[in-house]
């Protein structure tokens, strides 16, 4: 953080009163003697507002921080003032005529970053110069342009941001970018990848979302390698689709390229959190280049014209069905004005009988109700059982093997075009970007169970 209007940033209550009375402030270089006679020399740091109002945080000369209770401070003396200027060293990003032009669009994800004391959050640093300072390898891969579209945390991304981002991508492609990289927080990266798959169609170049599971303020961060992989996939890669590029294994080995509509964050903290569901990843990207795993993809083709279609209706939601769910939940959604509901149903796509009348009321009120499966893998199959057929009769639309989050994103986008029941149903059931596939290969469902002898043999002989 550079300058701040509040000289006592983050301090409140008693600690704030005392600091003011002592005539010291954040970044004051102080010498404190406490009531036990111990001397502390260091700089007063800002404090998180969520912490108590009894302690002052000091960064000692040896780099450690300690909290001093204000009642134990006997004397405090300001011996200097040292405001920290946290800066990523900026160097001019070198350009080479033989390298592709890649545009990095920033949404607030953490690729290169610094710490914010007040919140403890990691603040991204983003210009090509800053990135070159942090990840110099990028200069061997592309001529980089960066644009900060907005700075929001992943969980705060929403429909207006999706539309803005889609338009920005279109502009960059039209301006001649050979590939687009989108820096994004990982929590909702799957949602953004899905919605961009609908809002930006027929891209002539790769559109690659990337982030990190370990923030780049750590030496072990996956951010740099992910960025290198993503830039390579965007600049040199053959796949002109919306894709997510993140670690394959948790080891520093290679990145996986996941199709934007078929990908999901599957672990709260693992590096290899993103997995393709119900299919195999498009390919691998590493130091040595690409390994294509699924040959059925849209190839890079500079002559193709991108179609940007950034419309939406944000009155959509997911209903994660559970046993004992009461019909009033559905009624409440309808009363609140929701126009589209994606149910993540049990098994092949089920909800309990008491919900039926409420679902009937919803469809009758013009709400579009879609069915997906909370098992994530596998297809909705509502024709087998009586109950399923009843749901179909109520106007519930089965979405085959579309992932619930992808279905939500698509429904919001479709409702931006039309509310006509037949047209909505047709658009939802017609795949645009493999969000529904005709068949599931047997290796599209692989959750290895630890402990099994053959699995243990496999995992002990491969990098995790």
């Amino acid at each position: 953080m550079t300058s701040s209007p509040d000289p006592l940033k983050g301090y409140r209550g008693l600690a704030r009163e005392r600091l003011a009375a002592w005539g010291v402030r954040v970044w004051s270089d102080v010498r404190v003697v406490n009531t036990a006679g111990s001397t502390f020399e260091g700089v007063i740091l800002p404090r998180s507002e969520t912490f108590d109002d009894l302690h002052v945080v000091l960064k000692l000369k040896n780099g450690y921080n300690v909290g001093l209770h204000v009642d134990r401070v006997a004397t405090i003396e300001e011996v200097g003032y040292r405001e920290a200027h946290y800066k990523i060293p900026e160097q001019e990003f070198p350009r080479r005529d033989d390298l592709p032009a890649v545009t990095l669009l920033g949404t607030g994800g953490t690729i290169a970053s610094r710490l914010d004391y007040r919140t403890g959050a990691v603040i991204p640093a983003f210009t090509p110069g800053e990135l070159y300072g942090a990840v110099p390898e990028l200069a061997d891969l592309c001529n980089l342009t960066t644009k900060k579209i907005f700075g929001v945390f992943s969980e705060n991304m929403s429909w207006p941001e999706y539309a803005t981002l889609a338009r920005a991508i279109g502009e960059e492609i039209q301006a001649g970018a050979d590939g687009i990289v989108i820096g994004h927080g990982t929590d909702t990266m799957g949602h953004t990848a899905a919605v961009l798959s609908f809002m930006v169609q027929d891209s002539p170049v790769p559109i690659v979302l990337v982030g990190s599971q370990r923030s780049s303020d750590r030496p072990s961060s996956d951010a740099a390698l992910n960025l290198i992989h993503a830039v390579r996939a965007a600049g040199e890669g053959p796949i002109a689709e919306v894709q997510i590029c993140m670690f394959g294994p948790t080891s520093d080995r290679y990145g996986l390229l996941h199709r934007g509509t078929r990908c999901r964050k599957m672990h709260s903290s693992y590096r290899s959190t993103f997995r393709t569901i119900g299919a195999i990843p498009l390919g691998m990207v590493g130091r040595e280049g690409f390994t294509i795993l699924d040959p059925h993809f849209r190839r890079r083709d500079p002559s193709r014209r991108v179609k940007v279609d950034p419309v939406y209706d944000d009155r959509v939601t997911i209903l994660y069905y559970h046993p004992g769910m009461k019909p009033d939940v559905v009624d409440a959604l309808v009363d609140a004005g929701y126009r589209g509901i994606v149910i993540a149903g049990t098994g092949l796509g089920h909800v309990n009988k008491p919900l039926y009348p409420a679902l009937g009321r919803a469809t009758a009120a013009g709400v579009h109700v879609m069915m997906t499966v909370q098992t994530l893998w596998g297809f909705v199959q509502m024709y087998v059982y009586e109950t399923g057929r009843e749901l179909l009769d109520l106007g519930i639309v089965p979405l085959d093997n579309m992932l619930p989050e992808t279905a939500l994103m698509k429904l919001g986008w479709v409702l931006g075009h039309t509310h006509d029941r037949e047209e909505v149903t047709r658009m939802m059931q017609t795949p645009i970007a493999h969000e529904i596939t005709e068949r599931e290969p047997h290796n599209g469902y692989l959750i290895l169970q630890g402990g099994l002898p053959e699995v243990e043999e496999f995992v002990t002989s491969h990098w995790k």
């Binding site: 001397t39 909290g67 920290a84 990523i88 610094r114 004391y117 030496p219 961060s221």
Partner: protein
Amino acid sequence: MQDSIDYRAVGLKVGLEVHQQLLTARKLFCRCPAGLYTREHDGTVLRHMRPTLSELGEYDGTALMEFKTRKNIVYLLHRKTTCTYEMDDTPPFLVNEEALEIAVEQCLMLGCDIVDEVHIARKQYLDGSIPTGFQRTAVVGVNGRIPFRDRELTITQVTLEEDSCREVSDRGHLIVWRTDRLGMPLIETVTGAELRTPEEVEEAILLIGRVCRSTGHVRTGLGASRQDVNVSVAGGRRVEIKGVPRAALAARLVHGEAIRQVNLLRIRDELHRRGLRSADDVVSHVHDVTELFREGPLDLLTEARWRSWLESTGRRPGFEVGTGPFSVRAVRLPGLAGILAHPTQPGRTFAHELAGRVRVIATLDQPPVLLHSEAWPAGAGESLEALRRATGAGPEDALVVVWGAADDTETAASEIRLRVEDATEGVPLETRQPFPDGSTDFERILPGPDRMYPDTDSPPHALDPAHVERLRAALPEPPWEREARYAAAGVPLDETRFLIRRGGSRLVDRLVEEAGADLKRAALFVARDLKAARRGGLAVDEIPDGAWVGLFALFGERPVLWEARREIVAALAASPALEPAAAVRELGLGEPPGDWEARVLELAATAHPDHPDGSVEQRLRFLMGRAMRGLRGRVPAREVLAVLRGQLEVQA
């Protein structure tokens, strides 16, 4: 070579960082068991480390150095000892309260002021020893003091931190770590730089060890405690010798480092005399001399020999081996003639200083790491002349040759220059790796405060003053007080210190308090008898403390049992669940046989030594030995002796 030195005259100053593992059930930031070690693994992870910026926006020097080495880092995992936290795939859980409490207790033992609010920091380590790239560490106590000799030793601070991985191997660009020890809680006790001789260093390490161990809440045994020793002489600079396992070795290392620094200062003075007064004056010329040595005569510098070495040591491209074709590089150092052969540590020269940097930073580790003009291989003088011609080296110049993968030799050439630049200032800030013979080698550039930054994953933890006071009230007595108390009771100092170090003194105090034992007798029983029994292979550590208390109560009731203590200890060790009274019963001890006097008299009448020398004393000794076989622990030896002596006098 000067091997003796006046420590006061050279201004030796030493400070310690004593690491001591804490005895907790779980690790510091996850719920894995602490203290469980494995030799196998069932998973491996490959990682790399990148330097990051400090919160003040600066890169740390060590971090940059370690990035230059471009190490492939492999972690060996075992599901019994590690979870996804150690893999750096899960954020930390809240700090282990048990560990924090023990740390506070240790701080109080060391006379420290406890900090009000503990802030967990990240201390960067890019060598891979911790998969996150940083160690989570926090100051718990400051401003401590303990009595030392006729003065006090300052305890600057005590930190609570997670232990690192154990190194399995370090070859070329690949370093392998085992993760079982990673995350175990330990405290680091930092002393002031107040120790003046190697003897003081050894004594201080042992003293801090006794203080820590007085509570019984720290781990003992191999690897449970180790120290970093910070050494400087007047005009020199702080050098940190890392991970010294034993106090006696620390003393030898301090001696060696003092000599090294004195010699580096001499080298500095000599360089200044030659006009090399600062880094700016140092020039180096790097020549690619691969062709020159392609056909020999130095086999060591040929690609064929290098390749066969790679193969025989199992080095793989992309893992251990660096990038680029085989290359031989010569570094000409104008004005350095003779310096490379200047002694540093006992048995080492300045060339070893260069080799250390090349081995660690450029990862060129094929012995002997480098060749140089001051000690060129015997019988290859012509090749040195050819090299001098090829590089334009005059008689005032020194030459250093390195070989291996091209990119590494380039790094090596620049490190050689940097080390010579450092030499113009005398002693570089380094951490050094210790060897059992008392020598050291370069490990890394000494990190500065720029590698510290707050751990955003962990909230600050305010310590409740009332709880601290409760811990203070329950502290055991410090070792110096116990030593005085035991000495007053007649226990020798060596035994007292052994008891404190091994935790036996707490048992001794219990025996005195609960069983009314005599302090000296109890102390010597635990320090000598039990130690001997343990050495004899008896499982005495399996016997619960309560049993010892019960046994000493029996000694009080029937003093004759004391004479049979070895037999009773053996019986208890054989079945640790046995009550002492039951053991005594089973052994038939405690009660004198009704006819014991008659038996002793009969023995005196019939038994004789094999080779009698005619003396009464010899006969008495022999008869006592025979008589006590059946009577030890039943009849006091003194009474048996009286009966025998009376009988012999009658006979005489």
